[in-house]
Subunit: 448 residues, 2 copies
């Protein structure tokens, strides 16, 4: 059997860096800022997410952080990305009063942990300031512990990974402030008052300031306390506040293109495709080992050949019950159940039951494809379809629980060439179902 997904990083509120097996270094190795020996104890880190924007640039009424991607609000993906990093102790989200209840529902529904809410202000800077106040011990009713380092991140940058978070936190610990940057995609110009070109900036000498950023808490909190109403109203750059009010020159760190901010409608499309691609990377083939194993093996081989960059694991049906949680943790949301006989309605129900009983919320639609092999020269296709009509009914049922169930009949021809052709077609159908995760097509019986 192939290595199971257990060796890959966990997610969903579970820490990836807490376990010794994780690849990334933990900021336990960061020098403490309290004057102790470097490396003596971990720096306490919290994060603040301003999420009070109204999304006017998106051209839609819903604020962009609440726009749905695969039915789930964008901000939930960003929270998920931060939660995975166990050394972030608290995550403070600043939302407007009117979205407070919606935000609480999101936290509950998707099982987010370590989240506190603060009220957003009228501008981004005011929201961040409110988030910082929730962490500052000088505030009345403060229930959180003041961190040494605070990360500031955008609710609409869901693809932040632990590597860049660790790098900004480490650099902030050393320099007082740090932020991710990217090369400029377009030349930046300065218009004159009459709307003509005054001058253009040398692209090589400038960078786009992105997120995440990190600061020694005392530095950025001091900066926000000192700064003017004008800064709070019209400013856009936290690094600039640290420079202006605390003379702290932020360290700039090159980030990956994935840090981009979901701003326009096309960004939302891109985010959806990125997320779909990410969760299509893992497919688990569940084999009904009571029957001959060769069919499942054949299918796995063809899936590996046809679906490049997809990791195909497999597990026997009787083991899925205990493993299902681990598969979900390992971001495997696609299950291909290989069957030789068509009468396994109960086994399928049992498997779907284990999905339902999982204590983890289903963060993505789960694709389940029931694959049946049949020799069309022996059994008429339509007879087999008749036998499988229960899939349509069951699919309707499980769709309510975010499971997309389909049936796939593969012609198990005695002719080797025809068999290979059917397997290839079957693999590409599976690829499309896994990649597109279309709820409209759930419940169908497809034929290869």
């Amino acid at each position: 059997m192939e290595p199971g997904p257990l060796s890959r990083p966990a997610e969903q509120g579970r820490c990836v860096s807490g376990s010794p097996s994780a690849g990334a270094a933990c900021p336990a190795s960061l020098p403490s800022t309290a004057g102790a020996e470097p490396g003596s104890r971990p720096a306490a880190v919290a994060a603040v997410l301003p999420a009070g924007g109204c999304g006017e640039r998106m051209g839609v009424r819903t604020p962009k952080q609440f726009c749905r991607v695969l039915e789930r609000p964008l901000i939930s993906y960003t929270l998920q990305a931060l939660e995975r990093v166990c050394w972030i102790k608290d995550i403070v989200v600043a939302v407007t009063r009117e979205n407070m209840e919606a935000m609480r529902n999101i936290i509950q529904r998707y099982g987010h942990k370590r989240i506190s809410l603060a009220e957003a202000g009228a501008t981004r800077h005011r929201s961040i300031f409110n988030g910082l106040k929730a962490l500052a011990e000088d505030q009345p009713d403060c229930k959180l512990t003041k961190p040494e380092v605070v990360i500031i991140h955008d609710a609409v940058r869901p693809f932040v990974d632990e590597d860049i978070l660790l790098r900004v936190v480490t650099a902030a610990n050393e320099h007082g402030a740090a932020g991710a940057i990217r090369p400029l995609v377009s030349t930046v110009i300065s218009p004159s008052a009459d709307g003509c070109l005054d001058h253009s900036l040398d692209r090589a000498k400038h960078r786009a300031s992105e997120m995440p950023q990190a600061f020694l808490f005392d530095v950025i909190y001091e900066a926000y306390q000192q700064c003017s109403d004008y800064d709070l109203e019209f400013g856009t750059e936290c690094l600039q506040l640290a420079l202006k009010y605390c003379h702290t020159k932020a360290k700039l760190l090159e980030g990956s293109p994935d840090l981009w901010k979901v701003t326009y409608k096309q960004d939302l499309y891109a985010a959806e495709s990125m997320i779909k691609e990410k969760i299509s990377q893992e497919i688990c083939v569940i084999e009904n080992t009571k029957d001959e194993e060769s069919v499942g093996y054949l299918l796995k081989e063809v899936l590996r050949n046809e679906l490049n960059f997809v990791n195909i694991t497999s597990t026997p049906l009787e083991h899925t019950g205990g493993n299902i949680q681990n598969f979900l943790i390992a971001q495997c949301y696609s299950f291909i159940c290989v069957n030789v006989v068509s009468s396994n309605f109960q086994e399928t129900q049992k498997f779907l039951g284990t999905l339902e009983e999982s204590s983890l919320p289903l963060l993505y639609p789960v694709v389940v494809v029931l694959v049946y092999f049949l020799d069309l020269t022996l059994v008429p296709l339509t007879q087999e379809m008749e036998n499988l009509m229960w899939i349509r009914e069951l699919a309707k049922e499980v769709k309510k629980r975010n499971v997309l169930l389909s049936g796939l009949l593969i012609n198990y021809s005695q002719d080797e060439q025809k068999l290979q052709e059917s397997l290839r077609q079957g693999a590409s159908i599976i690829g499309a179902l896994v990649k597109e995760r279309s709820s409209a097509l759930a419940g169908q019986l497809l034929v290869a």
Copy 2:
């Protein structure tokens, strides 16, 4: 019957603004630059597209302008967008010698018109200069006519529309140079030599310089002739060259978010989704009028309710032959053939034949859904499926010609509520087939 698509703008090498019915003004109303009376004759306009980039930022080997979106190279979409504008007389594309043949194949395969090729240089500016030389009459072997105004556009900005092209050309005619700008998405900062923040720029006082840009030909050609090797090697901004060498202050015009440049992998995803969305806006329901019309009418109504923002037109089957070209011109690439009897293999073949005989290249995959209504209490589903097995074979055949054929059986229940439910499910299946255009799912018989 609903208004046919003929009243909407044409495309595919056909000019949208040449006909008096087109909404946009034609630059025929531009003042001539040759000293004649304003409005006396149209300004001659050409376009130059630098397409010599290697796409290193995309993280893939294929240069981004040749990356495929729905199987078609991105640059073909950009050419299509420029070709639609009939007052652009010539389009010069600068490609590297090694991509020259591939580019010729693209032009031929997708029927692009008014395109000339120039050899790309080692940098963007050198490529543009080569493109301009191909239009300058002082060059030996020049076969093109020198334009008064030249548009410079990127091969990787496929969503440029006539409005912004007209605006930059008009402004260039008046000011000598003009370019599209966008607000900055991120704050721009200037790093110090040690990689720390030196200062950040006021976002409100700066803009991102985008494309298209336009110039009086003599201005920009002069600027390129005058400019230094350093400019050609390291410069990024044509507007800056016009300013520096011809003292021409470009007029800056606010563009739409659609002007964004496909730069990273996520941009390619976004482009694909945008294009899919665009071609999903038009669905034509083809009715077999020999039978009762009520079924097709019902389906159309439900499609209108379920698929928001989609324009549903309809036409009787016997008229499709002559109309098919008009539908394709009007960007309608989705056909729903409503049938009451299942024995219309020949009619379907005839319809698919008209698609094939169209003199226009199929720029997008065409979705054809054959819809059959049947009362499942009278006819067993599997019997009807048996009757429709020819769809699978025919689908394989037409897939080679970029037509994605599927069958859809809708339960025509006598129970009104059940019928409505089936119609709604059918509409959402049609919506998914039209939107996703997945070739892996062609040839399937789906059931609602």
